[in-house]
């Protein structure tokens, strides 16, 4: 049945209920002393409308499923269905096709049998549609009767309607928990499967990473699943190189903008920095791979490094650092702004210069906030994917040389999961285990950082 009919029916009946209930509430109101009744007529109206429309919609949702079964039963019982193959894909296809011909969504005939079946489908659909509407009307009538019986001058319709609104709000916020739970369960489930094949010790402390997706899944070689090089690469690119770029630049930008720049300058520069934050990571990745990495390679060649990698950790890290600058600067900006004006005034009134005030009073006072911000930035950098997918390597080397190629957790997740669909191989599951580690680490970083920042804010409230 086309979803339009039930929708229109529910809305139409709901509207009718709304109008009637409102009229009725008005009669109460006119009759009431001082014209005061417990709730405004419009709340009575909404009460009735919701009572009619919600059960009706729920019924139609259910009916959609039930009638599907009934229609199928009807069609299969029809003589035309005798010609159908007994089971399998073809049978499903013919039925699907007949159904789409019957409902007019498509005319393509791949299987001739479906044409004959279209008619029984058509019959069944219209019969069950009628039955559905009839039952729907009965339900709507019953609901309306129930609702109208309760409409009285002293009926607290508003409270009832508002309770429903609150329930909707509560449901919406539960989505967040569901998502978190979904992520957690997904990751834990697959990770546990992975650890059933590869011991966590080998995974967390092994120094050799070279999973073999085509190897024997039943008997994997745990020595190929040592993730230390990935963790190191992730840290080196995201937490070291990127932060060496982002922290000083971000901090100094924030200080300049909050303490020195004229409001007019600030008004232009801040959005520009936000644009820097709004550039998609895939663009940064392209920039890193196409412009920065070759430049770094050339530079390395020029200073006499033999055979430098064209996907050095440095290239990915530098670009990631640039991406993080606005993040650090806005966190630092917020933190410095959260230091009460009184601190700054206090210092200036002592005869301190701006730079003394900033370095000796503002930054120390804002430090918890700034540290929290940097932790958030780190968590963002180590979870960043596209830049490293495009500019870092897939080779898991354990090295402290920024010109070497390194890989990261996110690169490996992408590498292990793109395309490869077999969910029971440890190499695929390893991606989930890596995801889980990444999730836990960023979670911990964020959790601590948010706490730190919150406590810092509270200190000044």
């Amino acid at each position: 049945m086309s979803p339009v009919i039930p929708l229109l029916l529910a809305l139409g009946l709901g509207l009718a209920g709304w109008l009637v209930a409102r009229a009725r509430a008005w009669t109460f109101k006119r009759a009431a002393p001082h014209g005061r009744i417990a709730a405004l007529p419009q709340y009575h109206a909404w009460y009735a409308a919701l009572w009619i429309a919600v059960p009706l919609l729920l019924f139609f949702l259910l009916w959609d499923y039930v009638s599907g079964q009934l229609i199928m039963a009807h069609v299969l019982a029809s003589p035309e269905a005798a010609a159908l193959p007994q089971s399998g894909l073809r049978r499903d296809t013919i039925l699907n096709e007949a159904f789409s011909i019957a409902s007019g969504t498509s005319n393509r005939v791949l299987n001739e049998e479906s044409v004959a079946l279209a008619e029984p489908f058509r019959q069944a659909v219209s019969r069950y549609q009628l039955i559905g509407i009839a039952i729907g009307l009965v339900i709507a009538g019953a609901a309306a009767a129930w609702a109208f019986l309760r409409l009285k001058p002293d009926f607290a319709a508003r409270t009832k309607v508002e309770r429903l609104v609150l329930a909707a709000l509560l449901l919406a916020s539960l989505v967040a928990i569901l998502t978190t739970l979904g992520i957690f369960v997904t990751l834990v489930f697959e990770t546990v499967r992975f650890f059933g094949m590869i011991s966590p010790i080998d995974f967390l402390f092994g120094t050799h990473w070279n999973p073999d997706p085509m190897g024997n899944a039943a008997n994997p070689d745990p020595s190929r699943y040592g993730a230390i090089p990935l963790f190191w690469g992730t840290l080196f690119i995201g937490a070291i190189i990127a932060m060496i770029v982002a922290i000083p630049l971000g901090m100094m930008s924030a200080i300049y903008l909050t303490q020195y720049a004229r409001p007019a300058t600030r008004k232009w520069i801040k959005p520009a920095l936000e644009v820097l934050a709004g550039v998609p990571t895939v663009v940064y990745g392209y920039f890193a791979a196409l412009t920065v990495a070759p430049a770094i390679r050339d530079m390395a060649l020029a200073i006499g490094v033999s055979n430098p990698s064209s996907e050095s950790a440095l290239a990915a890290g530098l670009v990631m650092g640039v991406m993080i600058i606005p993040f650090v600067s806005s966190m630092a900006d917020d933190s410095i702004a959260a230091v009460p004006q009184a601190m700054r005034d206090g210092s200036l009134a002592m005869g301190a210069t701006a730079n003394e005030t900033i370095r000796r009073v503002l930054v120390p006072a804002a430090l918890p906030g700034i540290v929290g911000g940097v932790m958030l930035a780190v968590s963002r950098a180590i979870g960043e994917t596209m830049i490293v997918v495009m500019a870092a390597s897939t080779a898991a080397t354990l090295s402290a040389n920024p010109l070497d190629s390194m890989t990261t957790v996110t690169v490996q997740i992408v590498a292990l999961l793109t395309g490869e669909g077999s969910f029971d191989h440890p190499a695929t599951l390893a991606a989930f285990a890596l995801g889980f580690v990444l999730f836990l680490v960023t979670l911990a970083l964020n959790f601590i950082a948010l706490r730190v920042v919150k406590r810092f804010r509270e200190a000044y409230e």
């Binding site: 508002e162 609104v165 609150l166 509560l170 919406a172 916020s173 539960l174 989505v175 967040a176 928990i177 998502t179 992520i183 997904t186 990751l187 697959e190 630049l249 901090m251 100094m252 930008s253 200080i255 300049y256 903008l257 020195y260 959005p271 520009a272 920095l273 936000e274 820097l276 709004g278 550039v279 998609p280 663009v283 990745g285 392209y286 196409l290 640039v322 606005p326 005869g351 210069t353 701006a354 730079n355 003394e356 968590s379 180590i382 979870g383 994917t385 596209m386 997918v389 495009m390 997740i413 992408v414 999961l417 793109t418 991606a431 989930f432 990444l438 960023t442 979670l443 964020n446 959790f447």
Partner: protein, 416 residues
């Protein structure tokens, strides 16, 4: 008292002042250079992309006059749809006609470098206007990628003299390629377009917006206005804050493990992509929504409560309308982020090659940033320009969205 020399009025103090002011100037200069550096990087990025990308909006075309009356093609039946009509023309030897005309006009070496798909363009022209068969018409047919790169000055050296020669004779030139904005992905950089990816992005964003916006706003209202302070709301609060910080690729893992398990046949569909991105965007909307709601001064709530408004009325009559600009700003920023997002979509199959734009939410599709990623991996030099052109298109959308957000924020920034 006044005869006592104050330590702040000694020559030693004055001398120290000089140093202090110098330090001050140095510090300020450092700050300025940090800002300048950041802006410079931004500009450099934008300029590089623009310079690279301008060429990406063009392609090399060759002028081929075709004398239809001499070729004896007959117009396909009007009833036929375009595909069948073109197939009919193909049966009549349209390919050879085009090849022959090209040979005539460009010489054999040149004609060999007509794009193998070019004859379809002629076919489409005939289907669109059968009267063209009565006259001679000149077509600007795409050249092969090899010739196109020779014209750019890279690629195989042996083709470069040919390219130069044709260009000098005015038969080969680079023209603005309107098709770039209307075609979908292809294997040949001469033939690619971004409409497929752009449409995929639009469909995906619609799903994301429809899911994330209402859920995000309602959740923000609940948490900020009604949630009792208890362990449950703490859990909600913590999960939202953490979701906002979970790396995007983790959402891809979720989409892969949950959505694609529930709807296995919807791999690569904007519906699934949109759902995945909605989960990612929702917390952003919740957080910015809460901030906007928090910024509505409590005195307004008090005022409404004190005349006897119920909490729901307070929120829907006063708080929400006042917070709306802030919520919208946050939503736009969240959507901009989702629009530029690639990583989670990599894992749910939105990286497949699809040669036509998607028709609906359940069609196979890719998205603009993913198209950039895919093209960036292509080896053909032609793709470098095309990639940058696609980046320009993406950046224009994002700059517009950011611009609107910044405008909204400035416009409605209230000092209560």
């Amino acid at each position: 008292m006044s005869d006592l020399v104050h330590p702040t009025r000694t020559p030693a103090f004055e001398a120290r002042m000089k140093k202090r002011y110098a330090a001050e100037r140095r510090f300020k200069a450092m700050g300025l250079s940090a800002v300048v550096f950041s802006i410079a990087v931004l500009l450099f990025l934008l300029v590089t992309m623009t310079l690279n990308g301008v060429g990406g909006f063009q392609r090399a075309v060759m002028s081929v006059p075709i004398d239809f009356p001499a070729m004896g093609l007959s117009a396909p039946a009007e009833t036929e749809d375009q595909g069948a009509a073109i197939r009919a023309l193909q049966g009549q030897g349209l390919q050879e006609v085009v090849q022959f005309s090209a040979d005539e006009a460009l010489g054999e070496a040149g004609a060999a470098q007509i794009n193998p798909e070019a004859w379809r363009q002629v076919g489409e022209a005939i289907v669109n206007d059968p009267t063209i068969l009565q006259r001679q018409a000149t077509f600007a047919l795409p050249a092969s990628e090899k010739l196109a790169s020779a014209l750019r000055g890279d690629g195989q050296t042996e083709l470069q003299p040919l390219a130069q020669d044709l260009a000098e004779r005015g038969l080969l030139e680079r023209r603005f390629d309107t098709g770039f904005l209307t075609r979908a992905d292809a294997t040949d950089p001469q033939m690619v377009g971004i409409w497929g990816a752009l449409k995929g992005s639009i469909l995906t964003m619609i799903v994301t917006l429809l899911l994330a916006f209402p859920i995000g706003v309602l959740a923000a209202l609940y948490l900020e206005e009604y949630a009792p302070k208890n362990r449950w709301t703490d859990v909600i609060e913590v999960s939202i804050n953490n979701l906002a910080a979970v790396p995007s690729i983790i959402f891809g893992l979720l989409g892969l493990a949950v959505f694609l398990t529930l709807f296995p046949s919807m791999r690569s569909a904007p519906l699934i992509g949109g759902m995945t991105l909605a989960l990612m965007t929702m917390p952003v909307i919740v957080i910015s929504g809460r901030n906007a709601i928090k910024a509505v001064p409590p005195s307004i709530r008090d005022g409404a409560l004190a005349v006897g408004a119920s909490p729901v009325q307070v929120v829907f009559h006063h708080v929400l309308p006042l917070a709306l600009p802030g919520i919208l700003t946050g939503t736009i920023i969240g959507m901009a982020r989702a629009l530029g997002e690639t990583a989670p979509l990599l894992l749910i199959g939105m990286r497949a090659f699809v040669a036509t734009p998607p028709d609906g939410f359940t069609d196979n599709a890719t998205v603009l940033p993913m198209q950039i990623f895919l093209w960036s991996d292509e080896i053909d030099r032609g793709f470098v320009e095309r990639t940058s052109a696609a980046i320009i298109v993406l950046l224009i959308f994002l700059l517009l969205m950011n611009g609107v957000a910044i405008y909204l924020r400035n416009r409605f920034e209230k000092k209560w």
